[in-house]
Subunit: 254 residues, 2 copies
């Protein structure tokens, strides 16, 4: 039996410590091809590039591993990788390890997770990994242990159709990790604020900033378990239909 | 009782025919403020701008209506609009009318729909409208009728918490419109292809292209009803958790 073909991408760029950590964690499990953005693409969500052409260049960054930088978004990387580089579906798509949590509604803004969601749409078992630490030099040792466990579990069991995994790892030492919990996305949101400034020519501009704010006192969400030292796994789907609302709305429109 | 405050945005830019059509359709229902991208932002999904500052300029495009152009994405427009222009939640957020369908999984790539999803996250009743015609000069007359009906229904009844509406209108004359159906997102995907070309300096580049392909023979999805002459309304949520997969996955990880 041939070794699994593992596609690795991220949104922090090919030069981030997190993707190097993911390549290390995945290396024992199969043959790896890396296709990742040539510059940071955090917050790009499910964006695709349709008004500009895309560039793809071979890179020699990971010992013995085929790698490419892409001028586009994480979702562009998945599409270009599958259709122009691999010419077949990989056995596994891994995205990350993101520098910073993608728990709760951050899944919507995250390029890392959108790459995994795109993988699920392509019928590829797909997993996004994020460490709850934004630092460029963050310690990924606990995250690598979790990644190895999740990769081996998904290779052994597969994933339900239309579902990828959103894995978040707390910023703890491996010895302090409590375990892994599969759970739901927390109900929490950014309380946005804008930092308004004046440029040298006298025109105003804004920086998006804000605080992430938990809206619930639940004990079964990803934010709850992360805060309590667990790595969290949220099964994540691309069907956004609020099925339970269909009947009552149909009555209003009939 | 004061008139409803209606926030209008889109992803095709402030200069698109679709947003002018939406302003016309919404005008009888309340006081309108428009904040929309200064250039086309199709396919930007839920992207936000965090590596660049944002610009916001007053524009005089719609008779008697406060309007602004924004240098960012549709989701940036929602955040800037709510926190820097309105300084309160509007009573309704309308996005579109998009030039081109956002039915099925197009909801994930769509800047138009991501603005509506962001509105739902801000607890604003939010609706995205899209016409199944990409032409710059498309005929929005049927779309305007549907928009008026949906706006009045949502103003009268509100929307379930955490749910916005993805409204798609078929490319037909008003007299040929069969009605409005509330239904689910179809299971369909882009069969991606890349058009590879060589630039004048001899380097290769790619244009993303492809065909949208229906994967099911269902009679209850948005693509089915659109193809049969109905406007479709898909209740759309930002909770991406695949709740039904939690228990079985927890067994695998325990």
């Amino acid at each position: 039996m041939s070794r699994p073909l593992i596609f690795v991408t991220n949104d922090d760029s090919l030069h981030a410590k997190g993707i190097a950590s993911l390549v290390e964690a995945a290396r024992p499990f199969g043959d790896i091809v890396v296709i990742a953005p040539d510059k940071p693409q955090s917050g790009m969500g499910h964006a695709i590039t349709i008004h500009d052409p895309l560039r793809l260049y071979p890179e020699h960054l990971f010992d013995g591993i085929e790698a490419y930088s892409c001028s586009g978004t994480p979702v562009d990387c998945v599409k270009l990788g599958v259709y122009e580089i691999l010419h077949r579906k990989p056995d596994l798509l891994l995205s990350g390890i993101n520098h910073g949590s993608n728990a709760s509604t951050n899944v919507l803004y995250s390029g890392t997770m959108s790459a995994a969601v795109e993988g699920a749409m392509e019928h590829i078992p797909s997993i996004g990994f994020s460490l709850d630490n934004f630092d460029h030099e963050a310690d990924f040792s606990a995250a690598k242990l979790v990644a190895a466990k999740v990769i081996s579990t998904v290779l052994a069991n597969g994933l339900p159709t239309g579902v990828c995994l959103n894995v978040n790892i707390p910023n703890v030492l491996p010895t302090d990790l409590k375990g892994i919990k599969v759970c739901r996305q927390a109900y929490a949101f950014w309380e946005d604020r804008f930092d308004k400034r004046i440029d040298p020519s006298g025109k105003s501009y804004y920086w998006l900033t804000g605080n992430f704010d938990m809206k619930e006192d639940s004990v079964d969400s990803d934010l709850y378990y992360l805060a309590n030292g667990y790595a969290t796994v949220v099964p994540t789907q691309f069907d956004l239909t609020a099925h339970s609302a269909i009947n009552s709305l149909n009555e209003q429109f009939s």
